[in-house]
């Protein structure tokens, strides 16, 4: 790690933007990501040409996991851009094969997963449903319906506020064009998925629908494990940063969905500011503040419109699995009063994913906050821990 002026953890949009801006001032930048290639979840195999071009001068190490805070020992400033994962909320049938996250399905399709001729139901909340529906249609899938849990009134408020974001209107028009004829329901969510060996049919609010795939997207949860291990301060689940994207931990900056959920443009501008600030280019960084402010407004607009409704808490049945790694069911959890208690008594969240899926679900279902993070920041070979 020595010999670099900046380390960037995460090669999604925020990390790429941070790395490129810093590298373009002459800094020597190293980007680490646990995926084999750069792009992150949203740009997987599909980095826009402009950014791909700019990134060509930066060293990117894929398949690389950061274990703990020993990365700070080198004294090199670090930008955290570890992004977000999907929020999965349990409902009967959610663990059937053929039920995926919307973002997961998007990533699969971009990696070559064949959806031609498949009937897909998309359900959940937010604009990602539309973006993925559009992608699926382009790849020959039949999107049988889109179920948006938010009420129509909230969506109208959201839509009428969009005039402030011309880029989003343009994207919306393009999306709308590609989604002509797809039934779009508001106030609508999946209550149950059925099937013998895999999903065959879903029950939505008030009707049923046959399908081959069900993609669910209830929003995103930031990947704060590494930030927590490095000693950054969190508030309401997000990393706290100052105007320069600097965290409360000396030598550590954070950008993108770690600091708030709000789309790729928000992540890009935060990444640019963090990359510049971390190498001391504060004047350049300041020039981006107004652009960031606009995308922050857009993000809060988005969060307000697509807030999760309380009815979703009532979907799991007593025997519905909540923790997939350890096969823990809803009624195994109801006796306990905290994430820690549930973990110790049921092993909920103690499996391979270390609560990265059920932790956020339990936060929504029971209000539990699991703040305990231990190295490694993500599962890693034992031999990685043997390197001092």
């Amino acid at each position: 790690m020595t010999g670099f002026d900046l380390i960037v953890a995460g090669a999604g949009p925020a990390g790429i933007a941070a790395a490129c801006r810093a590298a373009e001032t002459g800094a020597k930048v190293l980007v680490l990501d646990n995926n084999p290639a750069a792009g992150g979840q949203i740009w997987r195999n599909d980095i826009p040409a402009l950014w791909a071009q700019r990134l060509s001068n930066v060293e990117v190490r894929g398949g690389c996991s950061v274990i703990d805070d020993s990365i700070l020992a080198h004294g090199v400033p670090i930008v955290l851009a570890t992004g977000a994962r999907e929020l999965f909320l349990p409902f009967p049938g959610w663990t059937l094969p053929g039920v995926t996250g919307v973002g997961g399905l998007q990533a699969l399709v971009k990696s070559g997963f064949e959806v031609r001729g498949k009937r897909v139901v998309l359900a959940g909340t937010g604009p990602l449903l539309l973006a993925v529906a559009s992608l699926l249609r382009k790849r020959g899938a039949s999107v049988t319906c889109i179920a948006e849990q938010a009420p129509r009134s909230a969506l109208l408020r959201f839509a009428t506020g969009l005039w402030r974001y011309p880029l989003k209107i343009a994207q919306g028009i393009e999306l709308g064009g590609s989604l002509l004829g797809v039934p779009y329901f508001t106030d609508c969510w999946v209550e149950e998925a059925y099937g013998r060996d895999r999903v065959e049919r879903v029950r939505l609010s008030g009707f049923e629908q046959d399908c081959d795939l069900l993609a669910i997207g209830y929003g995103l949860v930031p990947n704060t494990e590494l930030a927590t291990l490095l000693g950054c301060t969190l508030q309401d689940g997000f990393v706290t940063v100052d105007a320069m994207q600097k965290t409360w931990r000396e030598g550590v900056w954070a950008a993108g969905e770690l600091t708030g959920i709000g789309g790729v443009e928000r992540s890009l501008v935060e990444g640019e500011i963090a990359g510049l600030a971390a190498i001391g280019e504060l004047t350049e960084a300041r020039k981006l503040f107004s652009r960031r402010a606009a995308w922050h407004r857009f993000a809060s607009h988005l969060t307000g419109a697509f807030a999760l409704r309380p009815e979703l808490r009532a979907l799991p049945r007593p025997d519905t699995i909540v923790c997939r790694c350890e096969d823990i069911r809803y009624n195994d959890l109801t006796r306990w009063t905290s994430a820690r208690e549930a973990k110790l008594q049921t092993r909920c969240g103690m499996g391979l994913c270390q609560g990265r899926i059920c932790g956020a679900a339990n936060h929504f279902l029971f209000g539990w906050q699991d703040t305990s993070v231990r190295p490694p920041a993500s599962a890693a070979p034992v031999s990685d821990l043997m390197e001092s």
Binding site: D68, S70, E326, S338, R340, E341, L344, Q345, T346, R347, M350, G351, L352, Q354, R374, P375, P376, A379, A380, P381, V382, S383, D384, L385, M386, E387, S388
Partner: protein
């Protein structure tokens, strides 16, 4: 129920829970104080290994008796307690350690504990992922593994006692005939002057790799490292969990007060494990953590009266899970004046008073 219970137990770990149940069974009224989560301290951070030990006659008597109680309890335990009768396999690396195998063999056999000596080939057959060559080993088949936090909660459920989730600042504040300090390594906070010191340990747990390890495996070199009275040490000590996960230990450090992972000792510990099981490096580690054992100068726990109405049930070092059940029985017998099933004298805290 009267306003003031006969016994209040401060500390809801497995030792406190076992004490609560045995006192209740002895006809006493009991309440438990646990400021945080039941079984959330050393009970959760240890391995959950139930092992008969032979360091001293007293230690043997306590671990052997307790181990009998564990086997009796096994059929009643809930499935979540993950009782696994896998036995302990003490691994000998060389002829010197093989001599120790034979010494242990005669010690255990003289006291009625079934053991089996394995030669190099039998050891390799029993645990194919151990490196070869090794000299052999000693299999103690009555030892087992449990998941302690669930057992602690289950013991308290059986006892049916009130649990106060509040912090106790002074034992004098606790309304009860007898107040038992069962706070493990934190016991000196409420009982200043007791000879208990925290001894830090590290553990790593892997993803599910069923069958990779079949017995609790401990190197006999452990005797040289773990029992040195001072200094940091690591030993090869791995355990199969019922889930197929593998726990990798162990380390011992005095004077380390922070719960953060110490990368240097973790690295040493894992390299030691890899010396014995070269394939262990390729397994997937999902979590590392630390915990604090309550160690005493003579390596025996403190069970019994200390000062006035203040009693102790702490100082179990790395054997708290093993000896929890026997500790509960001894404590209840001492309180009610019954004759304990094994001599209680070696564990009486007053042995340590100046």
């Amino acid at each position: 129920m009267s306003a003031v219970p006969d016994v209040a137990i401060v500390g809801g770990g497995i030792v406190g829970a076992a004490c609560a149940l045995e006192c209740k069974r002895a006809g006493l009224s009991v309440e438990v104080y646990e400021q945080s989560t039941v079984g959330g301290g050393a009970t959760a951070s240890g391995m959950g290994h139930v092992v008969v030990m032979d360091d001293s006659e007293a230690q043997f008597a306590l671990t052997h008796y307790s181990s009998t109680l564990w086997r009796e309890l096994a059929a009643e335990l809930p499935a979540a307690a993950e009782y696994l009768p896998c036995g302990t396999l003490w691994v000998a690396a060389d002829e010197e350690e093989m001599a120790e195998v034979h010494r242990k063999q005669s010690f255990y056999e003289a006291r009625g504990v079934p053991v089996e000596v394995l030669d190099a080939q039998q050891l390799a057959d029993a645990e194919p992922h151990l490196r070869t060559p090794l000299a052999g080993g000693l299999l103690v088949s009555g030892d087992c593994v449990v998941y302690p936090p669930v057992v602690a909660q289950w013991l308290l459920d059986q006892a049916g006692v009130t649990i106060h989730h509040q912090e106790i600042r002074a034992l004098a504040d606790v309304p009860a005939g007898i107040v038992v300090n069962a706070m493990g390594a934190a016991a000196p906070r409420l009982s200043p002057g007791i000879p208990v010191a925290p001894r830090k340990g590290h553990l790593v747990i892997t993803d599910r790799h069923p069958g990779f390890v079949r017995h609790q495996l401990i190197e006999l070199g452990y005797l040289k490292s773990a029992h040195s009275a001072s200094g940091d040490s690591v030993a090869f000590n791995v355990q199969p969990r019922k889930t197929g996960q593998i726990l990798i230990g162990s380390s011992r450090q005095y004077g380390a007060e922070h719960k953060e992972i110490d990368r240097e000792i973790l690295t040493r510990m894992l390299r030691r494990a890899a010396e014995y099981m070269p394939g262990i490096g390729a397994l997937t580690a999902i979590r590392t953590w630390t915990g604090f054992r309550a160690s005493t100068p003579d390596k025996l726990p403190l069970i019994g009266p200390w000062a006035g109405r203040e009693w102790l049930a702490t100082g179990h070092e790395g054997l708290g899970i093993t000896t929890s059940l026997a500790t509960g029985r001894l404590l209840a017998d001492l309180i009610t004046g019954r004759t304990p099933p094994i001599p209680a004298e070696p564990f009486l805290p007053l042995r340590c008073s100046p």
